[in-house]
Each structure stands twice: as structure tokens, then as C-alpha cells.
């Protein structure tokens, strides 16, 4: 990093500003702040290794300012970057404070320069890769695979994606499963009503609602929840029908049910 360029304070040229403005129009086309920084850095017309990070920070901040003026909404990560670059700029401009902890401005600037250079290198590499002779376009595989039809063994196959998706499907079945399909652990209100109509005759006095839960629905929390809800709903129905009454001594206390049947 050349010090003199780093600390020079020349104004951004008209040309650069125009370039930055042109970019604003197209802000959606950028893949995040790093991409934008890389594009801005091109206006410096130097090797990425000699880039002035201070200059770049200024360009970026000017860009963000301009966007604000034009009332262009910038995604949060652009603003985070702006804040960070403002911080970096102050570190680069102010003499180092021996008291201050953390990396120096130069270290931070060097890392940013490294990131830009690395991203550019990967883009170049990607372009070179895609420009290579490619199978199915420049060179070709055997067109007519040979087979001896008589011997035919069936081989079953699957790829890793199938496997992972199958697993994900099983494990997230619960997330998406329509409620009605969950018969195994769903106790419906109709079932509860049937059960309670049947049982109500045998219980004369106040009885805890929980005791109406069917056998085998107590331990599994999912089943228990379903059975409790169904039983509660069923008891409300019974009350509505005038066949039972409910009481609860205080909030969250056990709910008790009593038959209103004349016989009892």
C-alpha cells in the first residue's frame, strides 16, 4: 500500500463522481458491498495491489451519501459497510493513538485490499474456467454407449442429494404435515365426546378433567396435549348441552367436571 496515495486528499474527479452516480442507478445489480467496492476501485485505474483504500472509502461514502440524497434505499449491509469504512477512514487519517486497542488502520486497509484482490482473482479464475474447452461444447463423450442387451442386471442407484432430501423430508414431515393426517397422535373432539358421554354417567362428584384422558394418551406430550384439548372441548360441549358443569378454583388450577344428570 503506497503511503502517499493513502494519505493524499485530492478531490474525487468529476469523472469519478459521474461514474459513481451512474452506479447508483444500478445499485440492484451489485452483489453486496464488496462487489460495489470492487467496481468503485476500478475508477482508480491502478493495480488492485496499489489501490488507495482511503480513496476507496471516500468514494464509497460519497456513493452512500448520494444514494441518500436520491432517496435510494440501500440494504442494511451497505450501511454497515459504510459505517465500517467511515471508521476505517478516521483511523487512516488520524495519527495512531498508542492507547487504542485493536488493529491499526493500515492493517484493516490491507485486509480490505486483500479481500478485493482475492474476489477479483476468483472472478478472473471463474472466467478462465468457463472459457475452457468444455465437455458437450468443444469436446465430446462417446455418443453411442455400447451394451450387450442379453445380460441385464438392474442396479438401483441414488445420489447424495436424494439421500439428504429424503432424510430432510422425513425429519421435517411434522413441520408441514396437514393436521388431519396426524391420526396417530390426534385425539379428536368427537372421540372425546363419545368417551365422555359414556363415562359421565359413572362419575357423580367433581372429577378432574385429566382423568377423562384415554389410556395411553398420558405419557407422550404430543398425544397428551391433543387428548387434553379434545377432552376440554368436549366438556364445553357437554356444558353447553346442559349435561355437565365445570369449575376451576383459580387460574391454572385443575379443571373439574360434574355430571348434571338428574340420575346422579
Amino acid at each position: 500500500m503506497a503511503e502517499q496515495t493513502l494519505f493524499s486528499d485530492q478531490d474525487t474527479s468529476v469523472e469519478e463522481r459521474l461514474a459513481a452516480e451512474a452506479l447508483i442507478v444500478d445499485v440492484d445489480g451489485f452483489e453486496g458491498p464488496l462487489d460495489l467496492l470492487l467496481t468503485l476501485s476500478r475508477t482508480q485505474k491502478v493495480d488492485l495491489r496499489r489501490i488507495s483504500v482511503l480513496e476507496l472509502a471516500k468514494q464509497y461514502l460519497a456513493f452512500v451519501e448520494k444514494a441518500k440524497e436520491l432517496r435510494i434505499e440501500l440494504a442494511a449491509d451497505y450501511l454497515v459497510m459504510a459505517a465500517w469504512l467511515a471508521f476505517l477512514k478516521s483511523r487512516l487519517l488520524l495519527p495512531p493513538d498508542p492507547e487504542e486497542e485493536g488493529p491499526s488502520g493500515e492493517e484493516l486497509a490491507a485486509h480490505l485490499a486483500f479481500q478485493l484482490e482475492r474476489l477479483q482473482a476468483m472472478r478472473d479464475a471463474a472466467a478462465r474456467l468457463m472459457g475452457r474447452d468444455r465437455l458437450g461444447r468443444d469436446f465430446f463423450a462417446r455418443g453411442e454407449e455400447e451394451s450387450v442387451a442379453r445380460i441385464k442386471t438392474v442396479t438401483y442407484t441414488a445420489n447424495l442429494l436424494d439421500l439428504m432430501q429424503a432424510y430432510a423430508r422425513i425429519r421435517t414431515k411434522e413441520d408441514f404435515r396437514p393436521f388431519v393426517m396426524d391420526r396417530d397422535s390426534v385425539f379428536t373432539m368427537e372421540e372425546a365426546l363419545d368417551r365422555m358421554r359414556h363415562l359421565l354417567g359413572f362419575t357423580g362428584d367433581w372429577t378432574d378433567l385429566i382423568s377423562y384422558l384415554p389410556d395411553g394418551w398420558h405419557s407422550d406430550p404430543v398425544k397428551r396435549r391433543s387428548a387434553t384439548a379434545a377432552t376440554f372441548a368436549a366438556s364445553l360441549q357437554l356444558v353447553k348441552e346442559g349435561k355437565a358443569e365445570l369449575r376451576q378454583s383459580e387460574t391454572f388450577a385443575p379443571i373439574q367436571l360434574r355430571s348434571l344428570n338428574e340420575d346422579s
Binding site: 455400447e146 442396479t155 441414488a158 439428504m164 430432510a168
Partner: protein, 227 residues
């Protein structure tokens, strides 16, 4: 071998116009290469006319084919004529090597892939546990198929009542799926992060129970599923 043509494609006329040279056919060795590449890559036998149409103007595919046919004499593959078309075919005496090419690849059934996935993620796992996770019973055939493919095998017996057998994946499985170990399989969170979780189950993805469920004993082992 073909040098008389290759080097001599400027045969005759010592004085020629530039235009002529431009439209000169490539040397025969080059034509032979072309025919070779076309026959190799084409999905069907290639006719002379087709070759003529594809090769640069002035080529002589018939002659190139002859050269090529001679070149492949006694090799592992031969240039053969089929009606008025040409193709490259394996030498008949080497047909025994082609057995592998005859295997028909079929996608593993949904039941099998799900069972396999459960074994891979939860091994060692018992049959009852597989059924508990899938929510349906696992048919004998599915397990058999996976064992026959050598993707799963029996592990140690579980030290629980009934001492049920467990299943684990095999090195063949790892090989086929390009995994170093089953531990390299991404977890649910990672699958989701990588966008590999489908947003909703594909239509008809809710398999109905295929028979009696035997998951009573599976419940005791529920804690074994926790990673």
C-alpha cells in the same frame, strides 16, 4: 503411413491462386481425425453423406474411413459398416468386458432411499427405530434390497430386551455417495441453510401405513435418536 497425402495435399499445380488454397481440403491425416471424432461422438451410425456434409469442403470421407478402418484393425474397437452408415464398435472378442455397461440403472424407491437415509444418519439403528422415524412399517424387501446392494449391513445387536439387530452403512455406501464417513452428512440445520430442505412435501409424499406398526418397543428407544 498417410504422409503421401498429408504432405502432398498441395499436389500438382505449382502456381495457384490464394483463393484456391483457402478452399483446399485438409490433409488426409486430418480428415481421418475428423472422421474418427465424428464416429466416436455420434449417437448413431454415420452415413457417408452425413460425413460429407459435416466435413470441410473438398474432403473425401470415404478414403478417410478406409484409412481409419485399417488403423483400427486388430485394436480393441473396430470401424464397422452397417448398411450405408459407419460406426465404431467394440471388437467382438472383447464383448465379455462390456457386461458392466449392460446394467440398467434405476432410481431407488422412495421407501428404500428413506430407509437408507435413516440408517446413514442414525446408525446403528434397529428396524423398529426406522419404522418409528418413517412413521410406516418397513417391508422386508426394502431392507433386503439395501443389504443386497451392499449399502447397509448388520451391526451389533442392541443390548435391550429382545436384543434386536441393528443396521449400519457399509464402505460401499460411503464410496457410492462420495463420503469419507457417515459423519460428513450435513445435519438438518445445515441442510436447511444450504437450501436443501424442500419447502413443502411433494404431492403424495405422505405414505400411508403399509401394515401393522410395531412401534411399541420403539418408543423406549426414542432417546437413541437424539444426536
Amino acid at each position: 503411413m498417410e504422409d503421401q497425402i498429408m504432405d502432398g495435399h498441395g499436389q500438382g499445380a505449382p502456381v495457384r491462386e490464394d483463393n484456391d488454397t483457402l478452399f483446399d481440403a485438409p490433409p488426409m491425416a486430418e480428415q481421418e481425425r475428423m472422421v474418427e471424432a465424428v464416429l466416436f461422438a455420434s449417437a448413431e451410425p454415420v452415413t457417408l453423406r452425413d460425413l460429407e456434409g459435416r466435413m470441410p469442403h473438398g474432403c473425401n470421407p470415404r478414403e478417410a474411413l478406409e484409412h481409419l478402418r485399417k488403423r483400427y484393425e486388430g485394436r480393441g474397437v473396430r470401424v464397422v459398416r452397417l448398411g450405408d452408415a459407419w460406426a465404431i464398435r467394440t471388437a467382438p472378442d472383447l464383448g465379455f468386458l462390456m457386461q458392466k455397461e449392460t446394467t440398467e440403472l434405476r432410481k431407488l424407491s422412495r421407501a428404500a432411499i428413506e430407509t437408507l437415509a435413516i440408517v446413514a444418519y442414525h446408525q446403528p439403528v434397529t428396524r423398529a427405530e426406522i419404522e418409528e422415524i418413517r412413521g410406516v412399517s418397513v417391508s422386508r424387501g426394502t431392507i433386503d434390497q439395501l443389504m443386497e446392494m451392499d449399502w447397509i449391513r448388520l451391526g451389533r445387536r442392541r443390548m435391550t430386551p429382545g436384543r434386536p439387530v441393528t443396521f449400519v452403512v457399509t464402505p460401499d455406501f460411503l464410496d457410492h455417495f462420495g463420503l469419507e464417513s457417515a459423519r460428513d452428512l450435513p445435519g438438518l440445520k445445515e441442510l436447511r441453510a444450504a437450501g436443501l430442505l424442500e419447502n413443502r412435501p411433494p404431492p403424495g409424499s405422505l405414505p400411508l401405513g403399509q401394515g401393522g406398526d410395531e412401534d411399541d418397543e420403539a418408543e423406549e428407544q426414542a432417546e437413541l435418536f437424539e444426536e
